[in-house]
């Protein structure tokens, strides 16, 4: 009985409020920080709500960020080199160095390596998950299964932690935020293994496909290849990042449409620097010229980097958390209701068994 009264009043008054005062405009001021003195505030009717942005920024810089990126593709497509070029440091170990002794795995074997990198006070824990052995065998049936299993395991770990009674303050986030899929520069179209993988994984993770070693294709060949790939993606109803369904408003849609036209990006990676016109640039030196990685006329590495890091990194994390993780959670909780079993009998399903 007692609970009823406050609630009833609340809705009553809320209705009144919405009728009379939809939005109140507080006259605003310049961006004064928290240390300003009385006189300024008194004259300018300052409240200080926008200081919350600074507070958020401070908190974010203090706690740091986490980002988990997975690279998938056959050996020799330059996955590790691209990651190293992207983050300008040795975040990924190349498998072709002379000291490297492991042979090609019989099954896909996932390895994840974490580093903490810092730039202008912003700390980020970067985890690169490598998938050596993908697509390398003679029989590549179900080679995506270990990958799907890994991704679901991360969701599972997060879910368990979220559901436990004594939760940690900040649940460690090992979920894969982005999966970069390397397409070999054949110039033709998507191969069956590509289609299979992209179809299945497009449902559970955000995939950014790239055309690897793009310096073997001319500009026209790249355009052709890109068109064919886009056509194949549409024909097979494969959803790659940025997914059309998750566009929030018209502005988003326009921005993302521009990006979608350019996907997949044709990238070239390197960690060597050369002199070009008196500047040191990252590039690959060949007998017929130097391919500048950061030159937009040569390859689309900068577009790729800007999308991934400078503009959409937070969005990738949000899509993973709000959409992919929630989808997994719904499926998982519904499944265990249907089976009447606990989490102990978790059976990882591949993409095609998803409800």
């Amino acid at each position: 009985m007692r609970e009823d009264i406050p609630q009833r009043l609340k809705t009553q008054v809320q209705m009144e409020e919405n009728d009379t005062d939809p939005t109140e405009q507080v006259p605003c001021t310049n961006d004064s920080g928290p240390e300003d003195h009385t006189q300024d505030h008194a004259t300018l009717n300052y409240v200080g709500i926008e200081a919350v942005l600074d507070q958020m920024r401070r908190k974010a810089m203090k706690t740091g960020f986490e980002f988990n990126i997975m690279v998938v593709g056959q050996s020799g497509l330059g996955k590790s080199t691209l990651m190293n070029t992207l983050f300008k440091s040795k975040v990924s170990r190349k498998s072709c160095t002379p000291n490297y002794e492991e042979k090609i795995q019989k099954t896909v074997h996932l390895q994840s390596v974490s580093h903490v990198i810092e730039e202008k006070g912003v700390k980020m824990k970067l985890t690169v998950i490598d998938t050596p052995g993908f697509g390398d065998q003679i029989d590549n049936d179900n080679c995506w299964e270990p990958i799907v299993k890994y991704i679901n395991e991360q969701y599972e770990k997060f879910l368990r932690e979220e559901l436990s009674i004594n939760r940690k303050r900040r649940i460690p986030d090992t979920r894969v935020h982005c999966c970069v899929y390397f397409l070999p520069p054949t110039g033709h179209c998507l191969r069956p293994i590509d289609i299979e993988f992209l179809k299945r994984l497009g449902e559970i993770v955000s995939i950014v496909p790239v055309i690897a070693k793009a310096d073997t294709l001319t500009i026209e060949e790249r355009q052709e290849f890109r068109k064919k790939i886009q056509h194949d993606l549409q024909a097979n109803e494969i959803r790659v990042y940025p997914q059309r369904e998750y566009d929030e408003d018209a502005e988003d849609r326009i921005l993302n449409d521009k990006i979608r036209e350019k996907i997949p990006f044709a990238v070239v990676g390197t960690d060597r620097e050369h002199q070009v016109n008196g500047n040191k640039v990252l590039g690959r030196k060949t007998k017929w010229g130097i391919i500048e990685v950061e030159n937009v006329a040569h390859c689309e590495f900068t577009n790729f980097r800007d999308l991934l890091i400078r503009s959409h990194l937070q969005d990738l994390k949000d899509v993973t958390h709000n959409i992919h993780y929630e989808t997994y959670r719904v499926r998982r909780l519904n499944d265990s209701n249907v089976n009447g079993l606990g989490l102990s009998s978790l059976s990882i399903t591949t993409g095609e068994n998803v409800l």
Partner: protein, 437 residues
Amino acid sequence: MSCCFAKFTSNASSSCLPCLAQDKNARPLSLSGHVGFDSLPDQLVNKSTSQGFCFNILCIGETGIGKSTLMDTLFNTNFENFESSHFEPKVKLRAQTYDLQESNVRLKLTIVNTVGFGDQMNKQESYQHVVDYIDTQFESYLQEELKIKRSLHNYHDSRIHACLYFIAPSGHSLKSLDLVTMKKLDSKVNIIPVIAKADTISKSELHKFKIKIMSELVSNGVQIYQFPIDDETVSKINTAMNGHLPFAVVGSTEEVKIGNKMVKARQYPWGVVQVENENHCDFVKLREMLICVNMEDLREQTHTRHYELYRRCKLEEMGFKDTDAESKPVSLQQTYEAKRQEFLGELQKREEEMRQMFVQRVKEKEMELKEAERELQAKFEQLKRLHHDETSKLDEKRRMLEDEINTFNKKKAATELLQAQAFNTNANIKKDKDRKK
């Protein structure tokens, strides 16, 4: 087989968030150029700005102590309140939500006022309504979080982020109602005590009053909200402000001309109390601390400390545990499933019982109806017999009547005959007589 090399070792739940650099499995690496993820905080902030922020304040205090006026002054708007009566039979809570905007930041502000707090003769139940209200907000958030199909990022968070407790400016000490209420609330919400109507206390009295209040709070074990001092950028100002608690505030929406400016103030015959003058009252400090410096921290504390505590207690109350009797980790799911099976079993049992009862009733009714039918049949037979008797009696009578009629007719015929004979004889005699003449 897939194996994952990076296993996260997390620090035990300490009061400050685990720092990334302490993670044992992540080696620090230096960059040889500009990558560009320093824009991450901006990306984060932009996202949040487009979604808008949410802030909920609870104001507890006696009627007429100046809660609504202070809110008006703090947020520089007129929130359209009306004066409450002093005759409320119970403490009620009134929540009002407003959309405020400053430059490009949108804030959904909810102000919850207690109506009738401290007005009753018997104040023993006063705090219970407030506690219940706060728990209800936690409960609805918990429900949303436990749903299968949920939308947490769209959810309108109604949990109370800050509780302003208005202390009456008696100058002596805290009232017992204050102490009891604050003690009940300190583990559920961030309490910020303020001394209301501070223009009734002189400076020296105020100083003594503040010290008295703080010592009473400490000796009674009330944990009020401490402004965080672990972040270097704000630790200095927060430490200084922590020493000024509780803030002595004055609220006013009227403006008075001082010099050549219009300032918010209260005008008395003996002078003007300027709200935003730090020498006159601590209003500016309150605004700084509540909004400009610590709004985000208040929200975070509510979520990570108070809400987690509520959640843990609630789930443990319902019987969920993290480890079972053999201290093997038991997931929420398993416990939930077990309970669900139990519940379903009970449901089935009750269904069976109801079914049995139903069958029983049907049988009884059937028997009743059969009985009634038999009775009816018997009556029918009886009536039939009666009818038959009547009919035979009537037949009997008819026969008798017919006999009588027959006898009568015969007699009549005989009489007529006789009469005719007699007439004939008479006629003959007459004829004879006539002939003789």
